[in-house]
Symmetry: C3
Subunit: 394 residues, 3 copies
């Protein structure tokens, strides 16, 4: 568990690299700043109240709060964790990393034009309030867990919640200047493909911790099975993204392969412990293809998602959650209906709450930088340095 | 074991970074695409048949096949793994990562001019057929293991097999345009030295899992000794590469230091559990120096290896395997002869099979891109994007 | 412990990335060369004598030496390590990584103008002699440990020792040409902010091993508490750096956020197992702010530290060590005095010994490259390649 927690941490770096790699060089420092501070604000607010909103103990199933802050070491023995497989402290850290993950999903989607103060206010609400309250419905023992909803490691609880928030942000803020011109989608190439590759592989690596740790025990059989399904889904996702990208664009599209890997990972997350190897491959392949079509569809509706976050986390989060009712050990009609209920309930609340906050910000402090700042880049205006200074003049 | 498997995974990223760092910027996306898809195709084909070719159970010692696909969890208990130190699933995953490693060795060597379809066809044969069948000779309980051949974690089984395949590819495909002009070797600088450094350190990091996990138990004493020899060999390899590079080129050649690290790692891999600290240093130092001379010799024969893969993996794989007969616990004349037999047998089959496949491809679908594509770069033609877009114009 | 050792290794990559990211593109290869060779020379010299200088067994409390080299596996059982939680070999490897860490602190501070031979000679003395002898005073059972000095994982023993050495180097070598002109500080932008971010996050990741492993047992409760305090201090450090940077420069300074993270990590290291979550946050926040003011103060005295190493490792190393006497379980006036004694003793010896070596080098082989080399960059002169070759001309 401790090792898994450390691995989940590296996902924060993975997200930072993916987002910096896929966005334009003039906004590199901005996106890295957001990801670095995000993580920090997220961890501390989760420590002060998020954790106790998400795991309130006895509660009404919809909203509960235990106490302020995390406990001192002397208290933890009374909490009786799974035969000693992990401690209260490990649990907090593991969950805090999940919460921070949820926040970083948004940052990539609305990159290159969001006002930084508004972004941090939104993050604070998402990590401190929306995510933990919604999380308590399932992992905190709330109404969805009582109903039999199954989401092993967070296809819905983490990824689609982040994805809904990202979608709300995209709608409220609008597309980047010059992204959609005369019905055409203008390509805005990211600064560094190698950086994006580093990010995706670190995410894959971190996902071993994300899914492996969600077994919440040191049972080697279960963990190793989960790692196998996770790996196969990611690999199949890559192939799905390759094929999907080739069908649509007639080229070997590395961006789609990378998003395919992430799509496969998000898709398998809900049922990683309930699928056979071939079912995992099927889910990964399907998610890898669907993510390409989702990205194209987003552009059709002029929903400008700089890094494809909504397609990866929301679309594939939903697909993966529903797949638990269709494939694997739990497959049944009633399970499918339960999964659908969970997806819908999470979607309704996460999307509408996020939309409300974003529009609230829009009509008060504003959510968007000035046109001048956007076209010249956020780095020179807000941060005073460039992301890359590769020059050999003295 | 699980942790080690995760670490071995990160080697895939390490290879991707080294190869992208050491090849030209106009082919960055291409090499990253190959490495990403490689891993995915490799894992899935290994799951479907590679694993059961490599570990066929009872067989004639040369070729055996157990069944299609990997097993469901209920079956694994009957397989009786080393007192529960790891599961069937962990074993599969660990071995699949090794197989994928073998494939990525080739991609760097033949980069910047190989046709992508031919490359994937070759990879499929290498990971799905050549590697597992050859692997079964030693690790699957085949004839070389019965003879007493010793290769702890794959100096020969993994690295030299990949190295032979790379050499066959280099011969079949020929050097890059403009690499050898009027008897001179023309330098083709890689896109990013920091990227290469990241790659080499991630490989070193992953090697802890590669060698540590090959102990195939959780015995802390054995694992920790193996990590010490691995680390000392890598460190000595760096110094060897430094010295070797300084002697030949009269400068502090970072490329040689990095290849020296990898050389030391490959060299110690065959006998990591049988060497004392000073023997590990000796092997690392020797490999670090020899890798420099090997690279220069390759160029003399106009064998154009973009990243030095043959010198690192083949030359040092052989040296390391033979070293088991010369130094450490097993050193003896008869062991040396056995080691030599194994090296020769693996070389004969891996090289001739690879050469046959590459020439088969050459005279059918072709192995090389057009001159125009090669000189303008593979990225713009096959992938439609650039690896780096670092510009501050609006 | 083994896992933690592996994580500490990745800190070497973290330092390399931070330093290459924060220094100018014309010196990228040079700094990467130094970091790669540093680690290798450090590990081997620590194996040959450093380890046995630091853990001499019975000794006079100030200086002792056990024997040359590390032991063979058969000897280790007699050493009786903490109920089998780790082996002699693990211990060596873990400590060797710490020693190498100490050396890399210096390389960033004096980058871009130090003569490479002088640098390696200094490193050899630091890792082989100064660090282990000073380390023996506390961790080897010497006089400071007998006095009750407390430094859990090395705020003083590792970080401030490296920081004092860095400060001595800065003084002996002098600022870069053109850094301070007419009383103004000239900005010398680093080559790649994403690279620096990768470095800082890898350091944070590695710090889990650094602090977690320093528990020197597999006790999940203690380790998980240490990881929580470590994480919270880093997060609070980021916020401290954000706020500090905003106050001084009126912009969102990512460099300060990154140095704030490292400052928080260095600060918590001395008392990571003795602090409550809120105390950890307080220490991190304070270090994050102080590091900004320390960096500005350094510049005021024309002490040119390319990456802010002295502010991070020395200033915050001292603050963190003293904090053990002020906050947490051990807080008391007498403990504070003991901490101050330790800080002063380490500072006096580490600084004066380093200064003596640097001045000794200055008046013999020289410590600084020629003006021409410095202004044209070390890469083209000493290494013959560029760090980045991002061009799309054929």
């Amino acid at each position: 568990m401790l090792v898994c927690t450390m691995l989940v941490f590296i996902m924060a770096l993975g997200f930072a690299c993916v987002e910096a790699g896929f966005t334009q060089a003039k906004n590199t420092v901005n996106i890295l700043f957001k990801n670095s501070v995000d993580l920090s604000v997220g961890i501390i607010s989760y420590a002060w109240f998020g954790f106790n909103l998400m795991y309130p103990g006895e509660f009404n199933g919809i909203f509960g709060f235990k106490e302020w802050g995390i406990q001192l070491p002397t208290d933890y023995t009374s909490l009786g964790y799974a035969g000693g497989a992990y401690t209260y402290w490990t649990d907090f850290l593991f969950q805090a990393m999940f919460a921070a993950t949820c926040a970083t999903i948004v940052s990539g989607a609305v990159a290159e034009r969001i006002k930084i103060t508004s972004y941090f206010i939104f993050t604070f609400f998402l990590v401190g309030l929306i995510y933990p309250v919604l999380g308590s419905w399932h992992w905190g023992g709330g109404w969805l867990s009582q109903m039999g909803f199954y989401d092993f490691a967070g296809s819905t609880v983490v990824h689609s919640v982040g994805g809904w928030a990202a979608l709300a942000g995209i709608i409220a803020i609008g597309p980047r200047i010059g992204k959609y011109v005369n019905g055409k989608v203008v390509d805005k190439p990211g600064s560094s493909v190698p950086l994006a590759v580093i990010g995706v592989f670190l995410l894959w690596f971190g996902w071993f911790g994300f899914n492996g740790g969600s077994v919440l025990s040191a049972d080697a059989e279960s963990i190793s099975l989960v790692l196998v399904t996770t790996t196969l889904a990611a690999a199949a996702g890559a192939i799905g993204g390759w094929v999907g990208g080739y069908i649509l664009f007639k080229r070997y599209d590395l961006g789609m392969v990378l998003n395919g890997i992430l799509a496969g990972l998000v898709g398998i997350t809900a049922g990683a412990d309930k699928m056979s190897p071939n079912e995992a491959i099927l889910i990964g392949l399907f998610c890898g293809i669907i993510v390409v079509f989702s990205a194209v569809t987003m552009d059709k509706f002029k929903l400008d998602d700089c890094v494809g976050a909504v397609s990866v986390h929301l679309t594939c989060g939903i697909v993966g959650t529903l797949a638990v009712g269709v494939l694997g050990e739990l497959a049944s009609w009633s399970q499918f209906v339960t999964q659908l209920t969970g997806v819908a309930a999470y979607g309704a609340v996460a999307f509408s709450a996020s939309l409300a906050i974003f529009y609230g910000l829009k009509f008060t402090v504003g959510v968007r930088v000035s046109e001048e700042h956007e076209s010249e880049g956020l780095d020179s205006h807000e941060h005073g340095i460039r992301g890359y200074t590769i020059t050999y003049d003295n």
